[in-house]
Symmetry: C2
Subunit: 225 residues, 2 copies
DNA sequence: TGTACATCAGTGAACGCGCGTTCACTGATGTAC
DNA sequence: TGTACATCAGTGAACGCGCGTTCACTGATGTAC
């Protein structure tokens, strides 16, 4: 019971409440903690909100501790961006998973393409900050510390390729039309997503955006071949 | 000849060179000068580069002078954004102007749509900073001082509507398909533009982007109806 | 199993910077008489 | 035509802020013996 007082002291009550303090000198998992903090900031405020000092604050660590794990702020942002892309890919995969297998290969292919597009769009609407971060302007020149570029699993682009391959294999897409079809299909939903998040269209209600998305997917199907 | 010395003195040589000084107390056209400076910064560095203090520096005016013409930095950015949209519209109109009139209304309509899409894309490639600024995230809440919203001429959206109207009037588009076609058509080229400027596709050569743009326009034509 | 030591993840303090914004002011201009 | 004066576009100085980054350091950990 009296150990309470000691805990009280340890938790550092100076200034406002809620300032906690690590009990170990080593953090143990600081790199991941910084990325997680950066991701949360990106989620709320987009790429510009990924502030190195704030990340260290949230990880309860001094500002310069970040430099043990990242060469600079750009490297941290890059790691966060990469994580955002992974989340987007996961959202798409989940949407694809929902569309059963389907026996007819053509129906399956169409469903796959639709799932990629709609999963993409849904993620953009649900997590605009992460989405914008995933596609924020790339580092101009440097960003020395970007080891984790690859990560695991397929990225959004590869998932789209997969769906388009199914379209081709099931005979819905000629070999000629298949060429560069990724870029065309991707552009459509990406454009809608960005217009819905920012710029003149950002007041469109979500349902409307999703309905437009459905129409876009159909348009792509018809327009590609 | 000896007046040179006086001029020398007037031009204020302290510190580096090239620092000039206005001779009149009143600037005369400060608001426009600030927007012009902001526009140039946006052109080079995108929306984040529109810095109020830097704009006043370029207008050779003290920082707080800006507050005679804009309520705050957001208001200046908003004026710059509006100007970027105008420039985009002008680029599209120019592209439309290049496509002669054509006697066949259907050919004309197709050419119009193509011109809108390609003009849009070309502007995005040529002026990525302005393009990104035009579609940067809108002011969250305030921006009190945004008088010049309307400006003159048609905005990009209206130009696109015009082309789609021609499609409908010439019988290329049913009334049903015409509905919300703006959003669909716009999304495609907008998406390609943004992917080409940032994100994973930003290394695509310009010619390739334009070639994809041509395919997109065809896809939209076919897919819409 | 115990101890010396190298490693290196963290600390604490400080830096220079440039930003947006506010204050009390100054002085050119255009208008009323 | 000349003069007094209100207007208001500009000045100069200062503010608080938070950022990214560097410095010399400290102390826990894991390894070699």
């Amino acid at each position: 019971m009296f150990s309470l007082a000691i805990h009280f002291d340890e938790t550092d009550m100076k200034k406002s409440a809620s300032v906690q303090r690590r009990k170990t000198f080593r953090h143990g998992d600081l790199r991941n903690a910084l990325v997680a903090a950066g991701l949360e900031m990106a989620r709320v405020g987009g790429p510009d909100a990924v502030v190195l000092r704030e990340a260290t604050r949230r990880a309860m660590v001094s500002p310069n501790a970040a430099y043990r794990h990242f060469a600079n702020q750009a490297a941290l942002l890059d790691a966060v961006r990469s994580e955002c892309l992974s989340r987007l890919a996961a959202a798409i995969e989940e949407e694809m998973g929902k569309t059963g297998l389907g026996r007819d290969p053509q129906v399956f292919a169409r469903k796959s393409l639709r799932a990629v597009g709609m999963g993409y769009l849904r993620f953009a609407i649900k997590e605009p900050g992460m989405f914008r971060t995933a596609f924020s302007v790339p580092p101009a020149v440097d960003v020395p510390n970007s080891a984790n570029a690859a990560s695991m699993g397929l990225n959004p682009f590869e998932l789209l390729s997969l769906a388009l391959n199914r379209m081709q294999q099931s005979g819905l897409l000629s070999k000629k039309d298949r060429k560069d079809a990724e870029y065309l299909a991707w552009s459509t939903v990406h454009g809608l997503a960005r217009l819905a998040l920012e710029g003149p269209l950002h007041t469109l209600p979500n349902e409307k955006v999703l309905a437009l998305g459905e129409r876009l997917v159909v348009m792509v199907e018809r327009g590609l071949s």
